[in-house]
């Protein structure tokens, strides 16, 4: 009897694989030093399914040099628990997999089928399973449904997808070479100049991404608005008032606008022309990851990272297909009918699925983008077995409706335009209405179109200018990035991967380079970008990063080697790092002032102490270690004013004021949670009110007793 060890990426996936391969037999759970393995066996084969915990191995410097040492060029792949803090669990996992692997004579990598998954499985098989990568096979699937898993197991690739794993390895190695050396250079420069430690980081993708935000901020800070004037015109048609547009949308000179007002005020116009055009609105394309993240941000305010996390949970629950995909295609092999029949079990989707299933041939409106590994994100048709939390439910609903909408019929919209002539001046009345809802009906409330109905009009009809005024306006600066639009810019610039972009955006917040939802670059971000531009401009050059991405893509296609790209990176970085080392003190000085200023700004509130007017700062109690807002006048005037703040996460003082009391708002960001914005002052006021109420209740409850006592 053969023993096969299957490695999956996460524990939930291991259970699903075991359940699928076990058929009617329930998998036996075996615990090896607390690490779960699932066993299913028949007469011929014993299958053991284990999981990694994401990456169990990481790139790290060879040898035991100090963490401050740079440049470092020698690296190797090492167990994560030995090179990163807080990864003890990973060590236990590696030991247990190594132990169990000795019983196996066949190996399968069943991690997610993409760059990271191929690499996770490869490193586990190579390092923990004693070089089993050479004889291992690859299991490829896009959903964790039993049917697909069984099919994938009976169609295993004869060997691992080495080129994909090597491309993944190379990406980690190149990023490590960049990140470790440049970040250590910045951190050490600042440390030596100021004697104070601050974590400063940059990276191959992080640097150019930060530059996007800094360039935009620079544009906003140097923005000079220009004035322009628009006409506000209201026309009366058979007693009904309708807003009209002037043919000239904006005037650069106020007098030009005023001239038209003088010519048209209280005048009568004539309907010169009536036009109607019909537009076709084709169904949306299926979701690739970035489109899903973008819609999740637009409709629910979820950051790209949160949206991806929620989608991955739904994938592990067998509800949707693998979300890390670049594809906008839905191949017929996913079986549209089966998916829709499955969704019919959910009442909310039944009217749509019934309509689609009875409409004849199902053809999705596919997009251009493709991904050789996975189709677009789609629901599997499996009904949730547990109550989804509200955020999961939102993503699930969005994925389901988007999937169904792609099969919808083209919608059509009619646009109406009436041209009104007042002397030589032209105005337009515009209306629009949906003629055929088509796919829009399936994608509500995510697809919305405002309908404006024009009153009945005929050519030659006289209408009155009821109101015409000039409004002064100003040109607007470019909008700040938000996490979703920044991710889109990274994608357009072809930097990073679908798996890493969301994390990089999050890192910018964690390092204090950006703040607020509408990403505002901090002085530190400006300073880091300026230093990198001055001393090593190529490091933050999108073109160079993109070139490297191209080389790594070539490894995936077997046209380039990992060793060659690693060497090219070292050759490129070596002179830069040597130069940075020489200029360490100069760079350190440039950084120090900004860091000091930033650190003070980070903890100093813009609102003064309401008791004494001195500055309020976020401080930590020496006694309890807890942080709070305190008055800096404590030592001068003995002011004892204080307010509580949340004890977890990264605290950021926002520029926003509380709409209730006007106090400065604070934001808490912590991993895996939505940023929380709160007002400490209102919190205290609510607490006081609550206490007072509670006291009132206690007093009023005790009164009858007292009364009784007295009588």
């Amino acid at each position: 009897m053969t023993t096969t060890l299957i490695v999956t990426e996460k524990p939930d996936a291991a259970l699903h694989v075991a359940e699928a391969l076990g058929g009617k037999r329930k998998p036996k759970k075996i615990s090896v030093s607390g690490v779960p393995f699932f066993e299913v066996a028949d007469d011929q084969e014993r299958i053991l399914v284990c999981s990694a915990l994401g990456h169990l191995y990481a790139v790290a410097a060879k040898g035991k040099e100090a963490r401050s040492q740079y440049p470092v060029w020698d690296f190797s792949w090492q167990p994560k628990n030995l090179v990163e803090r807080g990864q003890k669990r990973q060590g236990k996992w590696i030991e247990s997999i190594a132990k169990v692997s000795k019983e196996a004579d066949q190996f399968v990598n069943a991690c997610d089928y993409d760059l990271e998954g191929s690499l996770i499985g490869y490193t586990v098989l190579k390092y923990a399973c004693g070089g089993a990568d050479r004889k291992a096979r690859r299991m490829k699937f896009s959903t964790l449904t039993p049917k697909e898993l069984r099919e994938a197991y009976s169609n295993l690739s004869p060997e691992l997808d080495f080129t994909l794993a090597y491309a993944g390895m190379c990406r980690h190695e190149v990023d490590w070479l960049y990140g470790i050396n440049l970040s250590r250079s910045l951190t050490q420069s600042a440390l030596k100049a100021s004697n104070r430690y601050s974590t400063l980081s940059t990276g191959r993708v992080q640097g150019p991404t930060l530059r996007f935000v800094v360039d935009r901020e620079r544009e906003i800070q140097c923005f000079v608005p220009n004035p322009y004037w628009v006409l506000h015109t209201v026309i009366e048609v058979d007693g009904k008032l309708v807003e009209a547009e002037s043919r000239i949308e904006r005037f650069d000179a106020k007098t030009d606008a005023e001239k038209i007002v003088n010519e048209c005020a209280d005048k009568t116009g004539v309907v010169e022309k009536l036009e109607s055009r019909t537009y076709r609105l084709t169904a949306p394309t299926p979701f690739d990851l970035s489109a899903l993240q973008s819609e999740a941000y637009r409709h629910f305010g979820f950051t790209p990272r949160v949206a991806l996390g929620l989608a991955e949970r739904l994938y592990l629950d067998q509800l949707i297909s693998y979300p890390r995909t670049s594809s906008q295609k839905l191949p017929p092999s996913i079986n549209y009918q089966d998916v829709m029949k499955g969704l019919s079990e959910l009442e909310a989707y039944r009217p749509i699925t019934t309509k689609l299933l009875t409409s004849g041939t199902l053809v999705p409106n596919e997009g251009k983008k493709d991904d050789p590994a996975h189709p677009a994100v789609y629901p599997t048709g499996t009904v949730p077995k547990r109550a989804l939390d509200p955020r999961e439910q939102k993503i699930f609903d969005l994925v389901v409706k988007r999937f169904l909408a792609t099969f919808g019929e083209t919608a059509s919209k009619q646009s109406d335009k009436a041209t009104i002539k007042v002397g030589e001046n032209e105005f337009y009345l515009r209306g629009s209405r949906i003629l055929e809802k088509g796919w829009i009906a399936f994608y509500e409330p995510y697809a919305k179109f405002d309908e404006i109905t024009l009153p009945p009009l005929r050519e030659g009809q006289q209408v009155k200018i009821s109101e015409i005024t000039v409004t002064e306006k100003y040109t607007q600066p470019a909008p700040r990035y938000n996490p979703s639009s920044l991710l889109r810019s990274m994608e357009e610039a072809e930097i990073g991967t679908k798996a890493t972009r969301a994390d990089i955006v999050e890192t910018l917040y964690q390092r204090g380079y950006v703040k607020e939802e509408r990403m505002q670059a901090t002085p530190l971000a400006f300073r880091i970008t300026e230093i990198l531009t001055k001393y090593c401009p190529k490091v933050i050059d999108v073109t160079f990063t993109r070139e490297l991405e191209g080389m790594m893509d070539q490894i995936e296609q077997g046209k380039e080697t990992r060793e060659h790209v690693d060497l090219a990176t070292v050759d490129y970085l070596k002179p830069i790092l040597e130069d940075l080392k020489v200029k360490e003190s100069e760079i350190g000085q440039e950084l120090t002032a900004t860091i000091k200023e930033m650190k003070m700004a980070e903890i100093t509130l813009s609102v003064p102490c309401p008791k004494c007017g001195d500055a309020l700062v976020v401080v930590r109690s020496k006694k309890t270690g807890k942080r709070f807002i305190g008055c800096s006048g404590k030592w001068k005037t003995n002011c004892t004013f204080s307010l509580p703040v949340m004890q977890f996460g990264v605290l950021t003082l926002l520029d926003k004021r509380c709409p209730v009391c006007g106090f400065q708002m604070v934001q808490n960001r912590s991993k895996g949670r939505r940023p929380m914005v709160s007002c400490s002052n209102c919190f205290v006021n609510r607490m006081k009110a609550g206490k007072a109420k509670a006291q009132e209740v206690t007093v009023s409850q005790s009164l009858p007793a007292k009364k009784q006592e007295l009588t």
């Binding site: 140097c222 000079v224 608005p225 322009y228 650069d252 106020k254 100003y474 002032a593």
Partner: protein, 78 residues
Amino acid sequence: MSESDQCPLCERRKEQLSEFCELHGSALEKIESAYSAWNKGYGHLTKQTYYDKLEGLNETGRAVKEIIQYFRNKEKVD
């Protein structure tokens, strides 16, 4: 960096042949180049009114406002 090398509005180094750093220099350039559009827009506009209007607008960039403030303060001193 000596004080004479530093931008009077921030801690950055002055650009060569400029009174300001790159950021504030760029803001100054934009203030100067936009004046003609403002002047044309209003028919006639003194520089003083132009600065007043810019300062009062939310859309105006921070570096632009800092430059205007700097020249106002300098005028007082001069």
